[in-house]
Subunit: 136 residues, 2 copies
């Protein structure tokens, strides 16, 4: 009855276990800035400053932190380069990082396609104060 073989693995994943290391990885990948960085670098390599400007709302602190996580996992490479007079630091996806792009983008594409539906569903839901309706 399962429509897709991939569903079968849901029963077998060990991600439900509290000490499953994959869980921590997923947690980090799911983090706001980390995934945006990967999407940006999927486009092309970026200098630090470029990322800072391109990813609206990210602070220097969070950008550095997220980049370090990705670097430690071997998902991105960090390369300081002389550009004119100054040294800039260029970040790019490793081969491993590139292999993450397709699955990650599938989720992005889904989210973009379903955002409108979900937001209007949410509005309806919020007006339906059936449960939990005490007073403001």
């Amino acid at each position: 009855m399962s429509t897709h073989p991939i569903l079968a693995s849901a029963a077998e994943t060990d991600a439900f276990s509290a000490d499953c290391p994959t869980r921590e990885i997923l947690d980090r990948l799911g983090s706001k800035w980390v995934s945006l960085i990967i999407v940006a670098l999927a486009d092309r390599p970026h200098y630090f400053g470029e990322l800072l400007r391109r990813i609206e709302g990210v602070s220097k602190k969070m950008l550095v932190q997220s980049l370090r996580i990705l670097e430690s996992y071997g998902i991105i490479d960090r390369e300081p380069k002389k550009v004119g007079a100054v040294v800039k630091v260029c970040y790019r996806l490793t081969e491993q990082g590139k292999s993450l792009v397709e699955p990650l983008f599938a989720v992005y594409a889904w989210a973009q396609q379903n955002t409108d539906t979900m937001l209007s569903s949410q509005e309806v839901y919020n007006r339906t104060v059936s449960r939990r309706a005490t007073h403001p």
Copy 2:
């Protein structure tokens, strides 16, 4: 030079914009418990108590909160059912929710396949105290 058409969209996504609604959706989907719930429900519908026991480490509070988010988005359905003497609440994916399973699972599969590599890469990285090495 782009190896895959999907990469092209990276340049065009509006997710970099701070007020992009898709960003918030992605944020929520990326959250620890939300994604684990979807994976569990991809397997089969679950009662609340089943989810609580299956997803190790989740608290009642976080489980309820995450389920409400998914329900409000129309990703899951909530159905109270008489089971013997008591009423249990059954959660299952909606059709929309089911459409999320495949992309989400692609990321899960990637993470599971790459966990070992990433963890050992991280160990090496942590021993390399080249940058930022002040004292404990």
